[in-house]
Subunit: 363 residues, 2 copies
């Protein structure tokens, strides 16, 4: 079975940095036995460029972004678990975002959307679970920005989560990662078609977004993958100019940059880019440790050895902190050519481990 | 003693990728005993953003870019060696480049400057040495693009070099590094003020250049340095928007990006960026090894552990290849927070080793 829906949650939604949204809408999908109770439910939290379409369903038979991980007999087994996924706050996939209408003005939010953080996104997931009548779910699973939301959910709602899987995420963004994201944002904002956020429908800042995505692709993968995968020699035909697609890797990046720029809204991208910078489990607490130790459930924390965006030292630090305070933590570093994106490629590795970690029984 | 000059070398200068320049001019500086013979001469080859002003001199008392490495009693001891440095072909520092006049048209080359490679730049250095009457120099020293030129010089002119010091350079650029440079180039070419290379003097593509430089700064340093050096928390005053300078690291990058964009010519940057992509000691040979093994002199090859632009594995591969064919190679990996830029920061380490490597006696 599967289902999809859009739920409107009336009333003010307060934000971590102050201010509020007048209301929020959350787009979601479900798989498995949709009547199963909370303790048989696994929640998937998507990353930056992913929607709630985690896998194919009756309404949308196209493959989802985690088709190989979520389904009958897979890592997150829909024969065993009810699976729920929401499109995240701020992303251009149907939940409230810069693309949706500001109820106070009747026009799309655009660049006036208030800055959110992963803590806000986690509270959206909690509201959806309220709506679905799911109080304490069996597990929450996420990677990258999805992993940050999962950590925030576990920290803010320790009584509502049985187990946590957080992959390639950080408990607090480091300056080195802010630096990389800043460059992508700058490329977008420098695009004259960005028009200070007031771009017109037919004139989108596609070139800036493409640059941001190209840099993103570099950070999501690894040097080793690029050096193994692509031809080292320039195209023998040339041209060899600065702007030409002289190397295979340039054609690859150009392809992905252009494709992304055609489907992702620039204001959403900028909002979510900064949102990830602002990830901090310690925000509002006397110390990072105090904020982290709100997490009480058993945690499976994974880093990838070649992740250059959120290196495994960050997951290791988080795991050690939790472990040293008596939390039940399983920590692994996956060796993978695919770096930060390994969760979208290494299905055998993740499938086996997530399946085991979720267990057979409800908590 | 010190001296500086501009030498015009008449006659066609053929280029590695085909075509030629009608003539070239080379700007250079010298220090030490300017009457010393070739075998008492050390040649310094500059990197992308460095001129021939390696250290202060009578004509220009401002500090040079390697002031702490070259001078009396320093790593390259001007009491012991005659030191020569040329501004490199294609850079905006006085030698022939997109900023200088095309003798065929009387106007600056601009974007019509033909694409060069480090092999061409090395042949410029050789022409300068011809002009100065220096046949076989004691040593050639370079880092980053300077190290690539040094390798190319040693490969093309094995009889003209006694010893080689190549730091943080590669024998052949990898796709992973092409990818990073491409993103910087794209940011410049997307700037509407770039005007397809025909930008006007008062309207330079400064924003695009700043993005390229910001990405450059990230690649020149290391995650560890950024994470140790900069505040991890956002400015408590905010603002927290995508475009604001919310984190200290953003203010740092913005400062360096803006400063660079005010002094570096965009067409020169694009030319030199692609020039480094095209670094390949094997170009025109049956194999990379065959091209590399033209180098016969003793080599001191250095990589830096945290170099994310040209990682130490690339220097190691080069050193092993030379060593396995009987060349006299000293290879070291320097552990340094400063990554690719270590040659501009770790003066004690490099000074001691380069001084030792250059020896006391002429070859």
């Amino acid at each position: 079975m599967s289902s999809s829906g859009l739920v409107k949650i009336e009333g003010e939604f307060p934000l971590a940095l102050g201010g509020s949204l007048p209301e929020i809408e959350i787009r979601y999908e479900e798989w498995g036995d949709l009547t199963a109770p909370a303790d048989r439910t696994v929640v998937i939290m998507p990353a930056l460029s992913a929607s709630c379409h985690v896998r194919s369903n009756d309404d949308d038979p196209s493959p989802g972004w985690w088709e190989e991980m979520v389904g009958p007999g897979l890592g997150v087994d829909t024969d065993r678990w009810r699976v729920v996924a929401a499109s995240i706050l701020g992303a251009p996939f149907g939940s409230t975002s810069p693309m949706t209408s500001n109820p106070n003005t009747g026009r799309p939010w655009g660049r006036d959307f208030p800055q959110i953080t992963p803590a806000d996104q986690a509270r959206c997931h909690a509201l959806l679970l309220d709506h679905l009548g799911l109080d304490r779910v069996h597990a929450v699973v996420g990677a990258s920005l999805g992993g940050m939301q999962a950590l925030q959910f576990a920290a803010q709602f320790p009584d509502r989560i049985g187990r946590l899987v957080s992959i390639s995420a950080t408990g607090k963004t480091t300056p080195a990662t802010v630096a990389l994201r800043r460059v992508g944002r700058l490329a977008i904002m420098n695009d004259p078609d960005y028009a200070d956020g007031h771009y017109e429908p037919g004139k989108l800042p596609e070139r800036g977004l493409a640059v941001a995505r190209e840099l993103g692709m570099i950070c999501y993968r690894s040097r080793d993958e690029f050096n193994q995968r692509f031809d080292w020699d320039p195209d023998p035909e040339g041209p060899y100019t600065a702007g030409s697609l002289t190397y295979e890797v340039e054609r690859y990046l150009n392809h992905h940059g252009t494709r992304f720029a055609n489907v992702f809204d620039a204001n959403c991208y900028l909002l979510l880019s900064r949102c990830m910078d602002l990830m901090d489990l310690g925000a509002g607490f006397r110390s990072y440790a105090e904020g982290v130790l709100r997490i009480t459930c058993p945690c499976f924390i994974v880093g990838v050895d070649r992740d250059i965006l959120i290196p495994p030292s960050e997951q290791q630090h988080l795991a050690h902190l939790l472990e040293s305070h008596g939390r039940d933590v399983s920590f692994e570093i996956l060796p993978s050519l695919f770096g930060h994106d390994a969760f979208l490629k290494e299905y055998d590795w993740f499938g086996t481990r997530i399946r085991t970690w979720l267990g057979d029984d409800v908590d």
